[in-house]
Symmetry: C2
């Protein structure tokens, strides 16, 4: 990941959807845990980048949502990325208070599919990994 | 993360948007890297869970997108999570070929905002962390 963008190039690159929103994924810089996905307008993205503190747009409340405003569990931006299609943002954050979720969990993704320790293996391989990667796989 | 769901409870819980889509974040099980965000219909979610191999819905091509169909860089599901609002899915995957992005990078988030090593610190704290967490923070 070596392509560095200036602030203005970053914001200009973002493709907002028909509602003027872009999804932003927040990941803990410290633990690597994916914390949440929420949405940003251009204004809340700019506020986030200017202040270094994450501000989303609440689609349900239809208002600016300064993460942690009520709980104190703010998110401080450490690194920001944009994806290849320019329609998703990834923020690596310091999650103050250790919990991003309003239900008290570190991550909003606290419900897990009970698929066993590892997933079932697909029956058909699209190719033989041994042929591609050698015997170690 | 202890709340385990059965397959049917998992799929039933998902709130698809007005276009019948849900965003799915793929994270490397091995490296923790956030690889990409793409979209799923109920049918492609069910196919993903049934086969253990990630299938998205391509919004641009308006068709089922079996990830890796062309490149061979398939994603094998290891764990699946749903968020507190039931409107985002997180998949921890084995990224075959080591690269999720069609541009050859491990992650689609290869463009980074040049914000320095760490972000600027916000000027105003919403509260005093020492008062909440004690002297260790």
């Amino acid at each position: 990941m070596t392509d560095h963008l200036t602030h203005s190039a970053f914001v200009s690159a973002v493709k907002f959807d028909d509602d003027g929103l872009v999804p932003a994924v927040a990941q803990s810089k410290e633990t690597g845990e994916v914390l949440m996905l929420a949405w940003m307008t251009k204004a809340t993205l700019e506020e986030t980048l200017a202040t270094g503190q994450v501000t989303y747009w609440s689609r349900s409340r239809r208002k600016v949502w300064r993460k942690g405003e009520t709980s104190g569990n703010i998110q401080r931006v450490k690194h920001a990325y944009i994806d290849c299609d320019s329609d998703t943002i990834l923020l690596q954050v310091e999650q103050v208070g250790g919990a991003a979720c309003h239900e008290g969990y570190e991550s909003c993704f606290f419900r897990k599919l009970d698929g066993g320790k590892d997933w079932k293996t697909v029956d058909e391989r699209s190719y033989d990994p041994k042929a591609v990667y050698g015997g170690s796989k």
